[in-house]
């Protein structure tokens, strides 16, 4: 049999299934592809899968750096303790409050800005450049800026505005409720431009004629928004919600810099609690269990969001 040359490689197969040549070359190709993928795959396992499994392993240990003589296998003790820990439940609630409020605010404000910008005749580019700035900053820097320049009593910008408005100086980060509101505002401030950019791109892609047809069909501005814009933007909105939810659930840097979870545990979201437990209180085993709990919560929520997305699409 002649060796399969490139001249017959592209010919359509008369018979269903693969001929001898094709099977051999397909097997070779598969082997080659595996060889090419292997380094990246190994690196991925070493840097993500292994640490994850190691974390789960630690979460079944009793591992207190302050009391190393007590260390040992604990089974599900850490998890049993976790379910009975009011501080865990509180941090979980704070995580959910933080996530829901920041994501809702980002989508609502981002969409409003995008709609406004579509109406602007001039200065669109300038507005986009200004809007994107917070996103490119490190969350830790953003936290620093807000803590020192914006919220500091007496000379922070926000505090100055509050005083000027007759509200008086507020202890923005010292009061439990105010501190929570502050960290929500900071996260929203930094990440709304992301939602804004994504929604703006989707809005710009909607054809003008559909809106003209809706005007002819006697739909008012509000009806056009509810019946045309929102449904057509739904895929983009759901995508933004999914992406921002995952980030908000695992937010850390900005809150850590601004309040470090305080005052007390007023802004201690689950992520911060796991960090504090592990590295401040040095209970690595219990801290790991908290981290696994956060992982499970994140997986559950994203699974629900993805299911919602698929259902809507169908």
């Amino acid at each position: 049999m002649p060796v399969a040359g490139p001249n017959i490689a592209g010919e359509p197969d008369a018979l269903p299934g693969l001929t001898g040549h094709d099977r051999i070359s397909a097997r070779r190709e598969k082997r080659f592809a595996t060889a090419l993928l292997a380094p990246a795959f190994l690196a991925l396992i070493a840097t993500t899968t292994f640490p994850l499994l190691f974390l789960i392993w630690i979460s079944t240990q009793r591992m207190d750096l302050a009391m190393p003589f007590m260390d040992g296998f604990a089974g599900v003790d850490n998890y049993r303790q976790l379910l009975a820990d009011p501080r865990f439940w509180r941090s979980l609630v704070l995580s959910l409050v933080y996530t829901v409020s920041t994501v809702v605010l980002q989508v609502v404000i981002g969409l409003a800005l995008a709609l406004l910008l579509m109406k602007m005749k001039r200065g669109q580019t300038l507005f986009r450049i200004i809007a994107i700035l917070p996103v490119v900053l490190s969350p830790a820097i953003v936290g620093m800026v807000w803590r020192s320049f914006m919220l500091t009593p007496e000379f922070g910008v926000i505090d100055y505005l509050a005083i000027s408005a007759g509200l008086g100086s507020q202890n923005w980060l010292g009061d439990p409720t105010m501190a929570m509101i502050s960290v929500i505002v900071i996260h929203t401030w930094q990440w709304t431009p992301f939602a804004f950019m994504v929604l703006l791109a989707s809005l710009a892609a909607l054809p003008d004629e559909i809106y003209e047809a809706a005007r002819i069909d006697r739909a008012g501005a509000w009806q056009r928004f509810i019946r045309i814009t929102l449904p057509l933007l739904r895929p983009a909105i759901v995508m933004v919600i999914i992406m921002r939810t995952m980030v908000a659930l695992t937010a850390f840097a900005a809150i850590y810099v601004v309040t470090a979870g305080g005052p007390g545990t007023a802004t201690e979201i689950l992520n911060l609690y796991a960090y504090r437990k592990s590295f401040t209180e040095l209970s690595l085993g219990y801290g790991s269990a908290l981290a696994v709990a956060l992982l499970i919560v994140t997986l559950l929520i994203s699974a629900v969001l993805f299911l919602m997305r698929r259902e809507r699409a169908a």
Binding site: A213, R215, I216, D217, P231
Partner: protein, 352 residues
């Protein structure tokens, strides 16, 4: 319903910055009339339709529907139906929801709405597609859906913006005939924008020919075809267009290529243009000598390109095989088929 749908446009102009898209047009559309706005692209016909729809506001002038000034009213409050060139269907709604949308916006009761949607869908034969989405329809079906969305309104005025231009040739001919029947049976006033003169000639009761932001001629297709009022219109209407040949007046008689033509005009002297439709040229033994340059065989007839002393002419003949390329023939035409235009102004000259 035929009593509704009277449209009056008075001195309407539209400027985009310094550019005049429409330089001031006047026309009247009678109730129940099929009125075509015909012209090449950029002539202002689509601008006019958008002004009628209320999607844009005129810079000057007034628009009246049934005697009521609607110039300042937005599209939303004008109660007109429109079919867009791109159909502009709502992609996230089913065909049923698309057709029902204008009724929903008008807060029509549910039971009446369902009935009217079914009825409109039946009129354009898409009742079996009501639960599909526009993305699942062919171009022709989308077009029908857009039509159904327009007729479900029972509005007195129907605006159509090149509705057939996205269909393939065969479907276009079928839909054209259906459109005309539909408009007749509904008894609505229709304003139809097209750049295709054949569409305008076949569909319209009357038409306005647009050029460079102005209306050059208004009349029934037969009138415009039979008596084009300028060289531009003569060269635009008809396929192939009218032959236009340079000539001069000698004592009131047009002289073409040294031969006097058998008619007279009031004007005594000057440069003129003689126009003759290709179908009015007779090829035979008598007349001006000419040579057949090219034969375009169209099957049941043919276009002959002929050269003679006065230039080139095209003639339509019934038999593609009657004359061969290179053959010497003679051409002639009747006095009644001759159109005369002033070469300088382009206006039509009437025979005395």
């Amino acid at each position: 319903m035929t009593a509704r749908g009277h449209v009056k446009v008075e001195k309407v102009a539209k400027l985009h910055g310094q550019v005049a898209a429409l330089k001031g047009v006047d026309f009247d559309i009678r109730p129940g009339e099929f009125f075509a706005l015909l012209g090449p692209s950029g002539s202002g016909k689509s601008t006019t339709l958008r002004l009628l729809a209320g999607l844009d506001k005129p810079t000057r002038g007034r628009i009246l529907f049934d005697g009521k000034d609607v110039t300042a009213l937005d599209a939303q409050h004008r109660d007109v139906a429109m079919v867009f060139q791109s159909y502009a269907l709502y992609p996230h709604m089913t065909v049923r929801q698309n057709i029902a949308f204008p009724l929903e916006m008008a807060k029509t009761p549910k039971t009446e709405m369902a009935e009217r949607v079914e009825d409109a869908a039946r009129k354009v034969s898409i009742q079996h597609l009501l639960d599909r989405r526009p993305g699942q329809l062919s171009g022709g079906q989308q077009q029908r859906c857009a039509l159904a969305r327009a007729i479900v309104r029972r509005s007195g005025l129907f605006l159509l913006d090149e509705p057939l231009s996205n269909l393939d040739a065969k479907l276009r001919l079928e839909t054209r005939a259906e459109l005309k029947k539909l408009q007749r049976s509904l008894g609505v006033t229709a304003v139809y924008v097209t750049h295709d003169q054949e569409e305008a000639l076949t569909l319209a009761d009357r038409m306005a020919v647009f050029m460079e932001g102005e209306i050059r001629q208004i009349g029934s297709p037969a009138e415009v075809f039979a008596r084009p009022n300028s060289i531009d219109i003569a060269g635009f209407i008809g396929s192939p267009p009218m032959n236009l040949m340079k000539a001069r007046l000698d004592n009131g008689t047009p002289v073409l290529a040294g031969r006097p033509l058998p008619l007279r005009v009031k004007q005594q002297a000057g440069e003129i243009v003689v126009g003759v439709r290709p179908s009015a040229i007779t090829i035979g033994e008598e007349g001006m000598p000419a040579r057949v340059d090219l034969v375009e065989n169209l099957g049941d007839n043919a276009i002959f390109d002929l050269s003679f002393d006065g230039g080139l002419v095209r003639a339509r003949g019934p038999d593609p095989l009657a004359f061969a390329e290179g053959q010497q023939v003679a051409i002639s035409f009747d006095a009644k088929d001759i159109h005369l235009f002033d070469a300088a102004s382009g206006h039509r000259l009437e025979a005395a």
